[in-house]
């Protein structure tokens, strides 16, 4: 059962265009990518609104959170410049509202082909034959390195003198808490002369 919000303003804000645009603005400020067009931000906002519709607690947190942004902005959050809007978001960073928006945004905004294109990622590749003939090794600002271990050399296993060195010191030494008998505790072994 879904209870109506006590304050009508909560319901009123819930699905308004104003709320959606405020959310889009939140995403732009929280995840600012100059090269990313509006589409991915709008789709991510819609995903958040859909998820909020499905969960009462998220919806309550979201509507309350968007309202408090306006209160912290002394007016309309959407009207704030980037720097001021970022300050407001930092003040709500620890809230349920912002955590929900951030988590959902991280999982969805960057799972969007338009964002991939803006960031320079090419998406699925198998159907295009992979990158074998499409630049898997086209980096040309460094020399081609060798691809095998140096011939005739053996990778060292132990540093010279490793066995003779003092035992590695544990930084937080807590005596007598180990089940291992060792150098600092008696282990009741047979004593030989």
């Amino acid at each position: 059962m879904v209870f109506p919000a006590k304050y009508p303003s909560l319901n009123a804000t819930e699905m308004t265009d104003e709320a959606r645009h405020a959310l889009i603005r939140v995403l732009r400020v929280a995840f600012p990518h100059a090269g990313v067009p509006d589409g991915p931000y709008e789709r991510t906002a819609d995903t958040i609104l859909t998820e909020a519709q499905n969960e009462t607690w998220f919806r309550v947190a979201l509507t309350q959170g968007l309202l408090s942004l306006n209160q912290l902005a002394d007016g309309d959050f959407r009207a704030l410049a980037d720097e001021a809007a970022l300050k407001v978001l930092r003040r709500v960073e620890g809230t349920e509202f912002f955590g929900f928006v951030r988590r959902t945004a991280v999982l969805n905004l960057y799972d969007d082909a338009e964002v991939w294109e803006a960031l320079g990622y090419e998406g699925p590749s198998f159907d295009k034959g992979g990158y074998l003939h499409r630049g898997f090794n086209d980096l040309d600002w460094l020399p081609d390195p060798r691809i095998e271990f140096p011939a005739g050399e053996t990778m060292p296993e132990m540093a010279p003198g490793a066995t003779g060195a003092p035992r590695p010191a544990a930084q937080d030494h807590t005596p007598d808490s180990t089940n291992q008998p060792g150098t600092t505790s008696s282990d009741m072994e047979e004593v030989k002369k």
Partner: protein, 536 residues
């Protein structure tokens, strides 16, 4: 001979071979690096086996080149809980491990690096000495015991650089990594050993460098039991493979011998498969969970747990990621994800301030995973810049030995139930001071590699949910120190074997899959001999 319809019925075989549930069978739980290998090696010797696999039978046609879609398709997503001071408990509290639930197991999403253990890494208690709060123990076997099986495993898996297999070419991410390594004075960098075909081998094609390793390999160039051991076991006519069959208990008879495995099919119906031998290879968290779920009055602390070590000494490798950001394109996502390794720091050198060593290996994520993992919890302009640098980023993963600790353990969380009403596993982990010191050293070393080739900035990413899960049923010479003996045979239950990374007495620096496969080949020989001699 059962009809085709019976072949497809829930909880029953999907191959042409079917074993009666009342026949005492060799039952293998899990079809990954350990279980899949064991299934092939035993059937190849004429021994029929039942393989119970919790996940579905996905093949290359099912795989998708999309990070989240593939994750939701392949990953083990049954609920788990976490505790301890590790960051995973805060950032991904219900995802302690990133492993696969499907036929072929976690190797279907692995990247492919196959370094061997070093000789001293089997003797950590003797070589490292006493390390406070670390439950170090020497393995009951050494490199000389495993060396011939390493050879066989490398040939089976087609490891590059070895046994006549050519190396993979350098991809973009490797060019940055290797040039950086050269400039800081490292010697031992290469594109492998790496279990993906550089040329056609073993009936599978060469890599097309599509960059999707963690999503299952649609091209079948990468080794996994799905493309090698499972089909070959099936071809012997002796494999009874039951996907979507989730083992929930191993039962025993009045003599304390394992006598059956109870499992749930995809519809939640409980089945019982009688057993003469049970081989448990469900990956470290589920292997420990299943032993704990199998407690009885005779085994009150869990099956095979007279030592109290079941679930303890959970290891997940050091891990960490360093990203370098450059002023020119790298496009690290093009090509084999982990075909690049630096071994110079893998040695044991206590003068660095810690015991054990670590490898650096190339790694790449797509933007979707990069956003989720690069700095969990972060947002704002600094976070956005990490993503804006994507196309000009190079990445390396740190994989090193973490200390086994008794308090790092898998337990049953009886307050949280899974969909079947079973208690979920809780994974508790605290970093050891040795782990912290090694990770700091490795981050710094990784940054130097990228700075040496002109990185404008670098970023340290904390450990991902664990892909290397080890140690929860460890090998020991003495029954009081561990769960299984030198063959992976339970000290307490003589027809019960553990066949996955749970048996690792210590973690070593190397990626574990090669060692799991080598141990499984060796174990299969032993089980076959014991069966033929009627000692099991």
């Amino acid at each position: 001979m059962p009809s085709a319809d019976q072949h497809r019925s829930p909880g029953m075989s999907v191959t042409q071979h079917s074993i009666d549930q009342n026949d005492d069978a060799v039952v293998i739980i899990g079809s990954g690096a350990g279980g899949g290998t064991l299934a092939y090696e035993l059937t190849a010797q004429g021994i029929p086996v039942v393989v119970l696999e919790a996940g579905p039978y996905l093949t290359q046609d099912d795989y998708v080149n999309d990070e989240w879609e593939a994750f939701n398709q392949m990953a083990w997503l049954d609920p788990r809980t976490t505790s301890g001071s590790w960051r995973i408990a805060r950032d991904f509290p219900n995802l302690p491990a990133w492993v696969v639930k499907a036929v072929g197991g976690t190797p279907t999403h692995w990247s492919g690096a196959t370094p061997r253990f070093k000789e001293h890494e089997f003797k950590v208690r003797s070589v490292y000495g006493r390390v406070d709060d670390a439950n170090l123990l020497d393995w009951p076997i050494g490199l000389q015991d495993l060396a011939p099986y390493y050879d066989r495993a490398e040939k089976a898996m087609g490891s590059t650089h070895l046994h006549g297999r050519p190396p993979l070419p350098a991809n973009n991410n490797y060019k940055v990594f290797a040039n950086g390594a050269e400039r800081v004075g490292y010697r031992f960098y290469a594109t492998g050993p790496y279990a993906t075909n550089a040329e056609e081998y073993d009936g599978r094609p060469a890599s097309i460098q599509d960059g999707f390793n963690f999503q299952g390999d649609k091209n079948r160039s990468k080794w996994s039991p799905l493309v090698r051991e499972i089909p070959r076991a099936e071809a012997t006519g002796l494999l009874d493979l039951r996907p979507e069959s989730h083992a929930v208990q191993i039962t025993h008879d009045a003599q304390g011998r394992a006598d059956a495995v109870l499992y749930l099919d995809k519809e939640g119906n409980l089945h019982r498969q009688a057993a003469k031998v049970v081989c448990l290879a469900a990956n470290s968290i589920e292997t420990a969970r299943l032993l704990l779920l199998s407690a009885t009055p005779r085994f009150p602390d869990g099956l095979a747990n007279s030592s109290g070590q079941v679930g303890r000494n959970y290891m997940r490798h050091l891990t960490g990621t360093v990203w370098g950001h450059f002023d020119k394109p790298v496009r690290m996502y093009r090509g084999e994800t982990m075909a690049g390794i630096i071994g110079d720091e893998s040695l044991h050198d206590p003068d660095r301030g810690f015991a054990g060593g670590y490898y650096m290996e190339t790694i790449s994520l797509g933007p979707a995973f990069m956003a989720a993992f690069v700095e969990p919890g972060a947002w704002g302009p600094d976070f956005a810049r990490l993503l804006d640098a994507y196309a000009k980023s190079a990445g390396m993963w740190i994989v090193g030995e973490d200390m086994p600790q008794e308090t790092n353990r898998v337990t049953l969380n009886t307050t949280v139930k899974d969909v079947n009403g079973l208690p979920v596993p809780n994974v508790h982990y605290d970093d050891h001071p040795n782990d912290v010191a090694m990770r700091e050293h490795a981050y710094t070393a990784g940054e130097k590699v990228y700075q040496a080739v002109g990185a404008q900035s670098t970023h340290r990413t904390p450990p991902y949910p664990a892909t290397h899960n080890l140690g929860t049923a460890r090998m020991s010479e003495r029954a009081e120190d561990g769960v299984v003996d030198r063959w992976g045979r339970a000290h307490d239950v003589r027809n019960l074997f553990v066949s996955d990374g749970s048996t690792f007495t210590s973690g070593a620096a190397a990626n574990p899959t090669l060692t799991i496969v080598a141990l499984a080949i060796r174990q299969a020989e032993y089980i076959a001999a014991e069966l033929k001699a009627q000692r099991i």
